[in-house]
């Protein structure tokens, strides 16, 4: 009945959705932001531990949401660890394009690591589901707010 939804709900997403990584509140976090999706009521908190060298030592999140938002948040925490704040911001920009632009070309994203985009490409299925784009990007919007010194992010 739902076979044509396998593109949206790939195994990786189901796995991260069911067993989200880094779902915790680290005590030593020095940046955090709250994210809201007013449309569905999803709320998320993203915690970052950023060193003086601007390298992200730890990323975690807390919240509940659909499989796509949980998987996106979970994968984000894995990918960002060890990156600089600038790299995280650039990856956010590329990921956002991937989720929203039909003509998205990963090759054109010269500023980001192609392996990272490749890993995140399982989430690109949301392009076909406009109402679900915000599910995939909420954690990233929230992370972006946190690293840029804002404490709130909204998908609206």
């Amino acid at each position: 009945m739902f076979d044509d939804l396998r593109d949206l709900y790939q195994e990786v997403i189901l796995d991260h959705g069911k067993n989200p990584r880094n779902l915790r509140q680290p005590a030593d976090a020095n940046r955090l932001a709250h994210g809201d999706n007013p449309l569905c009521g999803d709320r998320i908190v993203v915690y970052l531990t950023v060193g003086d060298d601007k390298i992200i030592r730890d990323v975690a999140f807390d919240g509940r949401g659909c499989a796509i938002s949980m998987a996106s948040a979970s994968m984000m925490t894995e990918i960002l660890k060890g990156k600089t704040v600038e790299e995280a911001t650039r990856l956010f920009d590329s990921f956002h394009k991937m989720c929203t632009e039909d003509a998205f070309d990963p090759e054109a994203e010269t500023e980001t690591d192609p392996d990272d985009l490749d890993r995140l490409s399982v989430l690109a299925g949301v392009r076909e589901f406009p109402i679900r784009v915000k599910c995939a990007t909420l954690a990233w919007h929230t992370m972006n707010a946190a690293v840029n010194g804002r404490d709130r992010a909204s998908t609206e």
């Binding site: 009945m1 739902f2 709900y9 189901l14 569905c40 659909c66 679900r132």
Partner: protein, 423 residues
């Protein structure tokens, strides 16, 4: 048009409560014949907005083709025809609610505007800092936020009557909240999330015992059973057209004549004035005082057509049919492991909210959509209620007169399939 003495044969599995012929009803709603993703549409989101019968679709088109003009202005023929039809709808609505007079019927754009009108007009005229408005924990945001604006603007306080775990108003707790500072009770008649039918008569009686007027939000109520504002003795009652098989853009605020008479205008503009000069302006009597500017004329006509349509049925038969769908669907959903229903009140309309272990409501909504099934998922504009139950979202199936047990079966199959999908 809908004389139900003529009963046709229905499809297997259809319910014929009290001679109600759902197959015939379905034939009146052309959208129900369409497919989505190559599957027959199963529309279970009428609580958000109901589908429209031919009587409304064709009737509105006919009005626009033949009788349309602005109202209350022209001396010419068409304007008089349109004005008569507009004002005749006011009488139709008055009859529908059993109001004492058509002058007690104010047309608004929806329930949200009706409540904002009441807050802005009645509230600002009668409330002062420290005064209280009592709502329940299961209100739609439309019956929370307008009062919160008055909290910010004039310093009133919003008091919240609690509900029990089954989603029923705790009447004794409600009664305790009613005090000398209570200036209004604003309460839902039927919960849009749980389907709870609130004890409206008791709510009104307890408030009136202390001289407090009551607004009931009937957005979900008027479509499921007949409402008699005089029997309820309610002071204000709001409902909307599009949940009643009518068009969007038109709603109603009923108000007792003596209360409306002392209310100042809500919006200023054309059609609500008696005379205008730069030395001062005088206003028309209710209900026109509250209908500034050109109203949604075709939509008001459409609302009248929708009421005419359902008035062709016995409301008790509609209620019995929907109640059968409610009990049948509740029973079958309850058999699904990991499924929890929110809202188990003794008196319910055919609205069922539920969660599934391990599957977020949004994912469920996306999945069942592929089976052609339209349900609402999310917080249903009732976040405080979600917080009350410690959940972020539910899936909600809301039934209308055109739904069948087969619609419920399709939902149940799709839910089980979703569980297999997420394994």
């Amino acid at each position: 048009m809908n004389d139900l003495t003529h009963v046709m044969e229905g499809r297997p599995g259809d319910n014929f409560a009290a001679g109600f012929d759902v197959a015939r009803v379905r034939a009146d709603f052309p959208i129900l014949a369409r497919k989505v993703y190559d599957r027959p549409l199963v529309f279970l989101d009428s609580g958000a907005s109901a589908q429209k019968p031919n009587a409304v679709i064709d009737g509105m088109a006919e009005f626009l083709r033949r009788d349309y003009a602005n109202i209350h202005r022209g001396v010419y023929y068409l304007s008089q025809v349109a004005t008569e039809r507009y004002e005749a709808t006011r009488k139709t609505v008055a009859r529908f609610l059993n109001a004492g007079s058509p002058d007690e019927i104010v047309f608004t754009s929806n329930v949200t505007e009706a409540i904002n009108l009441l807050a802005a007009s009645y509230g600002r005229a009668h409330f002062a800092a420290g005064d209280e408005v009592v709502v329940s924990h299961m209100e739609h945001h439309a019956n929370i936020v307008p009062w919160q604006l008055l909290e910010q603007q004039i310093g009133i306080k919003l008091r919240v009557a609690p509900i029990d775990d089954r989603g029923q108003l705790l009447l004794e707790e409600y009664d305790k909240l009613l005090g000398p500072r209570t200036k209004l009770v604003a309460m839902t008649h039927v919960s849009n999330v749980m389907g709870t039918v609130t004890p409206a008569k008791e709510i009104v009686r307890l408030a009136h015992d202390k001289g407090i007027p009551v607004l009931l939000d009937g957005a979900q109520a008027v479509v499921h059973s007949s409402v008699d504002v005089q029997d309820l003795d309610v002071d204000f009652y709001a409902f909307t057209g599009h949940k009643l098989y009518g068009p969007t853009g038109v709603g109603v605020l009923y108000g007792k004549a003596d209360l409306l008479a002392e209310m100042p205008p809500y919006q200023g503009g054309g059609d609500m004035i008696a005379t205008v000069s730069f030395d001062g302006t005088t206003f028309r009597e209710p209900p026109h005082r509250f209908e500034a500017g050109t109203p949604p004329i075709a939509e008001v006509i459409g609302l009248g057509l929708a009421i005419d349509y359902i008035s062709g049925f016995d409301m008790a038969a509609i209620a019995a049919h929907e109640h059968d769908l409610l009990t049948y669907t509740t029973r079958r959903l309850s058999e699904i492991e990991g499924l929890k229903i929110y809202g188990e009140a003794e008196h319910k309309a055919a609205i069922i909210s539920f969660t599934l272990d391990g599957i977020h409501a949004h994912d469920l909504g996306t999945l069942v959509d592929r089976a052609g099934i339209a349900i609402r998922v999310g917080h249903h504009c009732a976040e405080p209620l979600m917080d009350r139950f410690g959940i972020a979202a539910t899936a909600r199936a809301s039934f209308a007169m055109y739904n069948t047990r087969e619609d419920a079966d399709a939902l149940i199959e799709a839910v089980k399939e979703a569980q297999r999908f997420f394994g």
